[in-house]
């Protein structure tokens, strides 16, 4: 079948960008990567892109098709051809372009390195054999462990576009992989790394990362897991965590969100005062509910009891998770405390 692509090219030596159209013949099962290979071999050897495994496991070939990041090797071209479309192929977003479809991954790897991307054993002597870990415990990190670090999630991250220093979905999904690994003893000091100005609370929840991820990692969900861990450990220093606290308190007190509490609790009293002119503008439009007479839900006692009940269950789960991994019975390196 014949495939036509428009490719956004960039030549660094001339610092020149241009869009080029290519039409080539390929087999029916061809992927976007196959098409690029045919173009490179038969039409223009200077077309530059990364590739290696061609089976969606190495993460090399991330690029945008019509503005949406995909793995070229996992993108079949037949549906595109059948729909009569001519897609525009461009490099991934949120990363500097080196040449054609190749982006500079160094900022991406720098964020990876910044999240302490290795198991923290807490300096404890491991057992002679393996830690005893239940499959269900490891299943808690299996989703994040699927990540091939391709960058598709980062490409469309709306937060990162507005804040280039945001750690981002890939790095934070990697963080979640350790936060929830029962063998990691990083505890709160690890969580602090993700609690900073460019950490989890920077995420705008646009869900582009979940939408783009070709491996089912669901990075947004992973970011939420880290946020949950930070919140449930009582680390409420960031406005983002305090914002969540208002929702929890509100639903407990009234069943609804107490909107008027959001501003002072999230941004702090000083900043809240600065926001008074803004609040007045909203008040003039009638958008500020009466803080003295909060709107309460009916059957509120059900909700309050529910909150307390679930809270106690969450506590139990947290304690179990923080207990650390299990040593095999009769392990020679067993610590004295567990005797």
């Amino acid at each position: 079948m014949q495939v036509t692509l428009k490719i956004e090219r960039y030549n660094p030596e001339a610092d020149e960008s241009r869009q080029e159209t290519f039409s080539v013949d390929v087999v029916e099962e061809a992927t976007l990567l196959d098409v690029l290979d045919v173009i490179k071999d038969e039409v223009d050897g200077s077309l530059t892109y990364r590739k290696s495994c061609r089976m969606a496991v190495c993460g090399s070939c991330g690029m945008r098709m019509d503005g949406a990041a995909v793995l070229a090797c996992k993108t079949p071209m037949r549906p595109v051809v059948e729909a009569g479309e001519v897609p525009v192929i461009s490099p991934m977003g949120n990363l500097p372009v080196l040449k054609d479809l190749v982006v500079d991954m160094e900022p991406f790897w720098a964020k990876f390195r910044a999240i302490k991307p290795y198991l923290d054993d807490g300096g404890e002597e491991p057992p002679v054999k393996e830690w005893r870990v239940q499959q269900e415990e490891l299943d808690r990190v299996m989703t994040e462990a699927l990540c091939i670090q391709c960058g598709c999630c980062v490409s469309e991250c709306n937060s990162m576009e507005a804040d280039p220093d945001f750690l981002g979905p890939a790095a934070l999904a990697k963080a979640a992989r350790f936060v929830n690994d029962v063998r990691d003893r990083g505890g709160k000091s690890r969580l602090e790394i993700y609690n900073g100005p460019h950490g989890v609370w920077d995420c705008t929840r646009c869900y582009f990362c979940n939408q783009r991820c070709p491996k089912g990692v669901h990075p947004r969900d992973a970011i939420a897991k880290v946020g949950a861990a930070i919140y449930q450990e009582g680390m409420h220093s960031d406005g983002g965590a305090r914002h969540a606290k208002v929702f929890v308190k509100s639903t407990h007190q009234t069943g609804y969100l107490l909107e008027t509490h959001l501003v002072p609790e999230t941004v702090g009293p000083v900043n809240a005062i600065k926001e008074i002119p803004f609040a007045l503008r909203l008040a003039r439009a009638g958008k500020v509910p009466n803080p003295l007479k909060p709107h309460k839900a009916k059957k509120l006692d059900e909700v309050r009891k529910l909150n307390k009940l679930i809270e106690s269950q969450e506590q139990a789960t947290l304690e179990a998770a923080n207990a650390g991994p299990t040593r095999p019975p009769a392990d020679p390196a067993q610590s004295k405390e567990s005797e």
Binding site: T204, G255, I310, E314
Partner: protein, 297 residues
């Protein structure tokens, strides 16, 4: 379109965005939709409880769905993107895992709340009137077409993504709002960031980042010649409307874009008045556009 729905307005439409609730009830009447109130409904937890206390979020939403089921309704209608994703995600989890559903119901029973059997579907108003008989009904009631008005649609993230949970339309090329704008007689205006984020979830905790996001749809819609914008989400509405002044200062650009709730757009085309649709509750005054609509100015 169903004849009746369990109606879930969510927190904002009940309070600061009251005009959305008012407008929704008014157009439901015209569309022939019966909205059944859920007496004991609470907040869905938004993204915050969803993230910080996932178990609690799951139970809050199971309880809401259980209440809808108790009212004999098989469909719950939302008017907010965040509520939609939250309820649909909880629903999907509960429907897929009988063991989980049993456990959640045990907890609900313990606190005296109604249990849920998994029999409710969650639909946003947008979906109900964008196609099928709902769309036909919309065309019927649009007696006062908004001719000559250019409206830029702003979808908001959580009515599109993740599409495996929402799945109403192509998340990268949605058309539902454009169809509705056309049915209302107005002209839809296209621009790239109509599917991007308004920044609301972090508009307080990360104001600068949120404004960096918010500026994009406002600037692009303005540059594309829009008179106004329309959105199906009250949180996006709050961003685009109440925060428009801040975005304007940040971008050093005048936007002057009135922001319509979806229900207001439909209401105006159906002949409801400025007061009935409570346009005065907007921070960015709607009258430059509503004058055109109501007075043909």
């Amino acid at each position: 379109m169903k004849s009746s729905y369990a109606y879930y307005p969510g927190c904002l439409a009940s309070l600061s965005q009251k005009e959305l609730d008012t407008s929704t009830r008014a157009i439901a009447d015209k569309l022939g939709m019966t909205l059944v109130d859920i007496p004991g409904f609470t907040c869905c937890g938004a993204g915050d409880v969803h993230e910080a206390r996932p178990e609690y979020y799951l139970h809050l939403n199971a309880r809401i769905l259980g209440q809808a089921e108790q009212l004999g309704q098989d469909t719950l209608m939302t008017i907010c993107n965040v509520c939609t994703l939250n309820l649909r995600q909880a629903n999907a989890k509960l429907q897929a895992d009988p063991e989980l559903l049993r456990r959640v119901n045990r907890n609900l029973k313990e606190v005296g709340a109604a249990s849920y059997s998994g029999g409710v579907d969650v639909r946003h108003l947008l979906w109900e009137i964008a196609e099928g008989d709902g769309y036909e009904k919309l065309k019927q009631i649009a007696e006062k077409p908004l001719t000559g008005i250019k409206i830029a649609p702003f979808y908001g993230c959580q009515i599109l993504r993740p599409s495996r949970l929402l799945g109403f339309e192509d998340p990268d090329r949605p058309q539902s709002l454009e169809r509705i704008i056309e049915a209302c007689g107005a002209e839809p205006v296209d621009y790239p960031s109509k599917i991007k984020c308004c920044g609301f979830p972090i508009v307080l905790a990360r104001a600068e980042v949120a404004l960096g996001e918010l500026i994009q749809p406002l600037a692009e819609a303005k540059e594309a010649g829009a008179d106004a914008m329309v959105t199906p989400c009250p949180l996006c509405h709050l961003s685009l409307d109440a925060w428009q002044g801040k975005a304007s200062r940040e971008a050093d650009m005048e936007f002057d874009l009135p922001i319509f709730h979806l229900a207001q757009l439909v209401g105006a085309a159906a002949g409801l008045s400025y007061d009935e649709l409570q346009f005065k509750r907007h921070v960015v005054k709607a009258y430059p556009v509503t004058d055109k609509i109501y007075q043909g100015v």
